[in-house]
Amino acid sequence: MALIRIDDREIEAPAGENLLRVALKNGIAIPFFCYHPALSVVGQCRMCLVKVEGAPKLLPACSTLVAELPEDKKFEGKYDMVVETASEEVKQAQRGVLELQLINHPLDCPICDQAGECMLQEYAYEYGDSSSRMEFEKVHSPKRVDFGPHIVFDSERCIKCTRCIRFCREITKTNELTMAHRGVWNEIQLFHDRKLDNPYSLCTADLCPVGALTSKEFRFKERVWFLASANSVCPECSRGCSARYDTYRGEILRLVPIDNPKVNGPWMCDYGRLLTERIKGIERLDMPAFRRGSSLERHPWPAFAGKFLEKLSFYRKDFKKTLAVILSGRMTLEELIAYETLSEALFSDVSGTAPNVTRGEDDDLLIRKEKRPNLEGARRLGIAVSEENAAVADLLKGKKTALIVREDPLGDVEDEEAKAALEKALTGLDLLIVADDALTETAKLAHVVIPLPAWHEMEGTTVNFLGTLQKTARVLIPPRNRKPFYEAASLLLQAEGVEAPGGSFGPWFSKVKERIPELSELRVRDLLPHGVRLAGGDESASGGEA
């Protein structure tokens, strides 16, 4: 271990460690653009220049490694390195580099999406001068370039940090981007008519310190300082990337990955992010309903509970033989265990099966073919999980009644014939209860529809394929009659006269902890920010570690 002094602090750091990393880990602010912990070091932006005793020039902290000195060479008899990050010389260098970075940078702040989260803006404010001495025509280059299905590129705003090029080379290994030309005419380009269309293209918009690479979907939607954010989990595959949901007035405007070394590192795939687009215009019910012919007879909670039990009474005695229960890897642990409790009281202990829905293949980075976030959680609760892409129709064979939670088998099936057969099977049921967050194709056939909140409208816990237990957040508050399945369960149990846990997250999470002993000592705050790795996960698969 080396002992280094940075400004007035003494810090121990392993020899060979990156000096910038050491500083940041210890809460010492050194500005930088081109450095990124998950990418190679290039030392190009020169923003992180610091004074290192013994070196003739200022050195970039990002490319300086901690080195140990022999005893007789140590500074002041004890330090292996002495670093100044805020001396007059360093401040002058920061001002100088910033000034030069800004001379050809367009005055786009008023129309640039990056404003408010722009590293150039922040550093200019923190380290720069308030006026410009550059009076000449700025160097111009292409603006509003259609770079890919989700990315717009503005070459004038680009500060040539090359993070995007390195990302495509080192992380996705798709190599779409290059620097073209030379000198002040340096310009990021694609080859010919190829596009920046790898499955992680929006990560380049995250990486870009300025507004050169921006998201098409988020373009001009809202200023970032008006966004309300909550940290949660993406529900689109079994990786469950940690993501920050940014919302404005009840609408999710974008998802941004949270750097979680246990799950996804600093990245996230485009498909997960773009659930923002997929949820637009989805048909949803605002309260539970019974189908009467072609119309829906709606009843609010808690009145609905009594009416539902009434409906059930005709079929209950035969449930053991006639009931098919299809649960889902989209249900949180609390919702899954709620079904179990409910089943005891109302569904004759009939156990459910969660379908294992896959699409495509696992890729080398984050994307999993298993497209449900909490199947591993279901497994750990002892819930049956079907074979990969096994036909849901098989689960309905010989059944007359069915409860389907958070699955839309009719909407998912692609083959025409199989779809027709499944539809026949569903419509042939005497009683079909569907509890889901949207009025899906399956839900439209149901006799009883119980609307649930969306994944991001509910607190919960989920376990990914690696065995990492994470907490989801209630990013948006749903209408009061769209209750999480566990809250619905509490109300139904109450109506039945059975003792039930309270209808909120806490009591049901406690029930989950009772079931999974490993969790017994866990408190909710232990799950933040990165979740907890449980034993027995898939050790062979990549953890997305940065």
């Binding site: 981007l177 290059t178 073209a180 030309h181 030379r182 380009q189 694609l190 080859f191 010919h192 190829r194």
Partner: protein
């Protein structure tokens, strides 16, 4: 302008050219070193390095096309648009400027009716200014394609051009 796409396809389809490329690649300890050399070959034969060649050589050397584009656009001697038959390169850096390169350039501009970066309508001459050619004792220096001419007066320039057909 001639059909550059056709010319590129023809060149790539020529087995003799493919052999030249293979020989080039084999002559270095690692194939990547052959990239810039192959680009020279293409620039010489087609008077530019079209996208078709960039894609071809990228594939041949196991590189991404974007990487090749980055290389082509970095170096002065490669162009993505065809040059004229004769590329007139006038050195404008300090020693040649002291020798009178501005007079030479002005003379060529007016004689050919083009500015630096331009090509005559008949496609015969392209004119560019270049940086120091490392023959400063023979300024003003003028290169015509691969031939270096030293101490080029306006009369010399006229003579040189008249000898090019």
């Amino acid at each position: 302008m001639s059909d550059t796409h056709g010319a590129a396809i023809e060149l790539l389809g020529d087995p003799g050219f493919q052999m030249e490329i293979d020989e080039l690649v084999g002559s270095y300890p690692k194939k990547e070193t052959a990239l810039i050399q192959a680009l020279h070959l293409c620039q010489a034969k087609l008077r530019h390095v079209p996208l078709e060649f960039q894609a071809f050589i990228a594939d041949r050397l196991g590189m991404s096309p974007a990487h090749v584009k980055g290389v082509v656009t970095f170096y002065e001697m490669f162009t993505e648009e065809p040059l004229g038959k004769y590329l007139l390169q006038v050195c404008g850096t300090l020693p040649c400027m002291l020798a009178g390169s501005e007079k030479l350039l002005a003379h060529l501009e007016s004689k050919l009716g083009i500015r630096p970066g331009g090509t005559t309508k008949d496609g015969k001459f392209s004119l560019i200014t270049v940086e120091c050619l490392a023959c400063c004792d023979g300024g003003p220096a003028l290169m015509v394609n691969e031939t270096l001419h030293r101490t080029v007066s306006t009369e010399d320039a006229d003579r040189i051009l008249s000898e090019l057909d």
